[in-house]
């Protein structure tokens, strides 16, 4: 008989080991899935996990994509994780991402075609501020009216999407764009461009910001009083109240910070890889980052690794669709499997599996 026994405290070893185990289990289950679809499982797994980085044919193109795709995920997920740790659920990072991009882009476009060194920094501030203010709306609704931040932040995503469509067709539309929706290309305007800083790596300013956010979050959570208050609040709100945590201020901080980081991610995207605000600028980074945050166990280092892993499965998944003509649904199933196995493995962190002989009756 198998039984689960609660550990006196969460196992540190398993906290590290379960993600690795989950990836391996996902590879096996995914391999079975691909085999059932008539594909060679080993080729499929290799195409997803190995080829994007090391294939002589594609790596030159796909390797830089890894950081390009991982950076916004990590940047947003770091912000979200602060709130999630405290039990504050910002589900609307996608909206904050859009608003950051729009605000930052608007500043850049306002200066066009002037060339000056201060334009890009100003846009960065604008991007952060746009996301911050968008994140502040659910925070204030929560603290003033006790409205659930989950609903408010989520609904603001659709609001932000409508604003994005409106400005793509209106205020920010490229006057030289022959009537097509979408702004001027910011990546091609030197003062607003967010170029690759080290050739061939994909590392743009957003990647730097993402790594900086990882370090800052790590220090905040492990050393700073505020990070400690965030953790206590998530562990036990009553104990946090006893420790003198001002829960309203914490809600504003967490939602504001995650909004600002999402806004930054949007700004770096619109000035670099995307180039312009269009009616379809957002691609779901804000939602995927929720998965990244949990996959990384709300731990900054874990989030960085999870962001890279998820970015890899995106790139590898696309490659597998293209090379092995796998349907895109099967790739989504595969990504879903990864999340499910990881959550299932989570039980090993808090419980010990014990084999016991059935007690004689």
């Amino acid at each position: 008989m198998i039984s689960l026994i609660k550990r006196p405290q969460p196992s540190k070893t398993w906290m590290v080991a379960t993600p690795v185990l989950a990836v391996i289990v996902t590879m096996i289950l995914g391999g079975l899935l691909f085999a059932a679809m008539g594909k060679d499982p080993f080729v499929a797994i290799r195409t997803i996990f190995w080829d994007p980085l090391f294939s002589p044919d594609f790596a030159a193109y796909s390797r830089p994509q890894l950081l390009v795709k991982a950076a916004p995920l990590i940047l947003i997920a770091i912000g979200l994780s602060l709130g999630f740790k405290a039990g504050i659920w910002n589900i609307g990072a996608e909206g904050q991402y859009i608003m950051g991009a729009i605000c930052g882009a608007a500043i850049g476009l306002a200066f066009y075609p002037m060339e000056a060194w201060f334009i890009f920094p100003l846009m960065v501030i604008g991007g952060a501020l746009g996301g911050f203010l968008w994140g502040l709306i659910p925070a204030l609704c929560k603290t003033k009216f006790n409205a659930p931040e989950i609903l408010v932040s989520l609904m603001l995503v659709y609001f932000a999407e409508q604003i994005m469509i409106a400005v793509s067709l209106g205020a920010l539309r490229n006057p030289e764009g022959n009537g097509f929706p979408g702004s001027r290309n910011l990546a091609q305007y030197a003062s607003s461009a967010n170029p690759e800083l080290i050739a061939g790596t994909g590392a743009h300013w957003g990647v730097m910001a993402a790594f900086a956010a990882v370090v800052a979050a790590y220090v905040l959570l492990s050393k700073h009083m505020l990070g400690f208050q965030i953790r206590v609040t998530g562990e036990s709100p009553r104990a946090a109240g006893f420790a003198g945590v001002n829960s309203k201020r914490l809600i504003i901080f967490c939602l504001g910070t995650s909004g600002a980081l999402a806004g930054l991610a949007g700004l770096f995207e619109v000035t670099g890889p995307a180039g312009q605000i269009t009616t379809s600028f957002n691609t779901g980074y804000g939602f995927t980052a929720i998965i990244v945050a949990f996959l990384g166990r709300l731990n900054p280092i874990g989030i960085m690794l999870a962001g890279l892993l998820l970015a890899l499965t995106f790139i590898g998944g696309e490659l597998a669709q293209f090379m092995l003509s796998l349907p895109s649904a099967s790739i989504q199933v595969f990504q879903g499997m990864l999340l499910m196995t990881l959550l299932a493995m989570d039980i090993l962190v808090n419980y010990k599996i014990v084999w016991r002989k059935k007690e004689a009756v």
């Binding site: 006196p8 009083m225 505020l226 400690f228 009553r238």
Partner: protein
């Protein structure tokens, strides 16, 4: 008297830890038998074996001379063994009769059941309306539901696990009357408790467990409480002694607090006033749920009463939060250890940082100095004899008593001017409780003031110089504790101005 239940050589080990080691004793028919022991002495394990919740590794039990080896509580009940647990298992949304029916194998029709509940409750002097919703009942009434549920099965042996921990002195007296009646009808009772005075007044025989072994038996009627306590802890008890001290300047005063808690289940504090002086211990008694949590929260700063109502050393602090009050020297330790006084999944080091960063200067520019925090945590662990594998252990991995020592130690060692504690020794074994009380006494001797909110009257009588009682959010006028009788205390607890007709228990508490 004939023998009902005989235990021989019962042994049970959990993952290498021996919880019961060759435990043997017997319970006679119609006997009230006490089972005494500190937390972790193995009382629960033993009772679980008798009630069929777990099986012994070795040893035998005989009931009525026949082998008895229940493999489930149903089997135990079928053999006539019933149990009232310390924590009730009742559905608050259902009424009394429905709750009783849920615990029966073949419940009769609701009307018949309601009639028999009424009969049994009448016969045993436990008034209970079968149609009332359990959610509206007091703790004492809920316990009656559990007891009646057992009595309906006509048990031969009734096991009671710390039954009086939730009761007022008056309710205790009613319960004891019921138990004595049951006893006179030939029912045996296995009575588990920490409270030695109770055991002395109720039980015929006592078995004392320590570290899983039977260390002694005694006749509680002739053995002193002190001797029994010494058998339990295996060392000479350190009974705290109150050094008489002239009390000094007023440190904290509370004037006419009106406070409505946010929770619908909270108790409103009504025009509550008190004052403590340097060197004084004010004991606040009362039955749980009469505003204890609320009083602590308005003193700790977690909740805010109206402006001007809380004055600390002449300064109005009613608008200050917990940390600002800590900075001034007003510290507190709430009742609920896990989830309020300490975060369950956090280590003891982190839980030290929970309240101690300000007074012990454990942080600089808002960055926590973890090594300094760990050092202070180690000091607490050492000074208060907190048994834990390390300071890195999660709070929830500690036993209740050890965590309580840690929580109290954490506040006491920050050198407070005023310390407010709620239920400082709840669920703590005798020796730990004595050391916690001694720490509070030492604190007062050093010039601090202590407000001790507790439901343990013996404890309050032992350490307080002034005593007041909370009743429905109102505080009685504090009186000098020395010389108060149980009757007077009962009146104070019942809300003195309205309770001239209250029935008072007639036994003395050793002061």
């Amino acid at each position: 008297m004939t023998e009902l239940l005989k235990l021989q050589g019962l042994t049970k080990a959990y993952l290498g830890v021996i919880a019961n080691d060759h435990v043997g004793f017997s319970i006679a028919k119609g006997e009230v038998h006490a089972l005494l022991g500190e937390n972790g002495a193995g009382k629960s394990t033993l009772v679980k074996m008798i009630y069929g919740l777990t099986k012994p590794d070795s040893g035998t039990m005989t009931l009525h001379g026949a082998p008895y080896a229940p493999n489930s509580p149903q089997a135990a009940r079928a053999s006539g063994v019933a149990m009232v647990f310390q924590h009730f298992s009742l559905f608050e949304a259902l009424n009394v009769a429905e709750n009783v029916a849920l615990g029966m194998e073949n419940p009769p029709k609701m009307n018949d059941l309601a009639r028999s509940i009424r009969e049994v409750s009448h016969t045993y002097g436990l008034p209970l309306d079968p149609h009332r919703t359990v959610g509206d009942l007091s703790a004492g009434e809920r316990q009656r539901v559990e007891i009646i549920r057992c009595l309906l099965q006509d048990p031969k042996l009734l096991i009671m696990d710390e039954p009086t921990s939730v009761l007022t002195p008056q309710e205790v007296e009613i319960l004891f009357t019921t138990l004595r009646k049951l006893q006179s009808e030939g029912t045996s009772i296995l009575y588990i408790s920490h409270k030695l005075e109770e055991i002395r007044s109720l039980c015929d025989d006592a078995t004392i467990l320590r570290m899983g072994k039977v260390v002694g038996t005694c006749d509680p009627k002739t053995t002193t409480a002190r001797d029994m306590a010494e058998l339990m802890v295996g060392e000479t008890l350190h009974i705290p002694t109150r050094e008489a001290k002239e009390s000094g300047a007023e440190l904290l005063s509370v004037q006419g607090i009106e406070f409505a808690p946010q929770s619908p289940f909270g108790t409103r504090l009504k025009n509550l006033s008190l004052s403590v002086k340097s060197g004084e211990i004010l004991g606040i008694g009362g039955v749980a749920g009469n505003g204890q949590d609320e009083l602590l929260s308005v003193l700790s700063g977690e909740a805010k009463a109206q402006s001007g109502s809380v004055v600390f050393e002449g300064q109005d602090i009613s608008t200050l939060g917990p940390n600002a009050r800590r900075a001034l020297g007003l510290l507190s330790a709430p009742e609920e250890r896990l989830g309020h006084a300490a975060a369950p999944n956090m280590s003891l080091i982190e839980n030290t940082a929970l309240t101690a960063t300000i007074r012990k200067k454990l942080s600089k520019n808002n960055f926590i100095n973890w090594s300094k925090t760990e050092k202070f945590a180690q000091e607490i662990i050492k000074t208060f004899d907190v048994r834990t594998p390390s300071a890195n252990a999660a709070a929830r991995s500690l036993s209740g008593g050890n965590l309580q020592k840690f929580v109290i130690g954490r506040e006491v060692m920050q050198d407070p001017k005023v310390l407010v504690v709620n239920q400082p020794t709840w669920g703590v074994d005798a020796s730990a409780a004595a050391s916690i009380r001694q720490a509070l006494l030492d604190l007062a001797a050093g010039g601090a003031a202590v407000i001790c909110i507790s439901q343990d009257l013996d404890e309050l009588m032992e350490i307080s110089d002034h005593f007041a009682a909370l009743n429905e959010g109102k505080l009685s006028v504090p009186r000098v504790a020395k010389g108060l009788t149980v009757d007077e205390i009962g009146l104070m607890m019942g809300g003195a101005e309205t309770s001239s007709d209250t029935q008072i228990a007639g036994h003395e508490v050793s002061a």
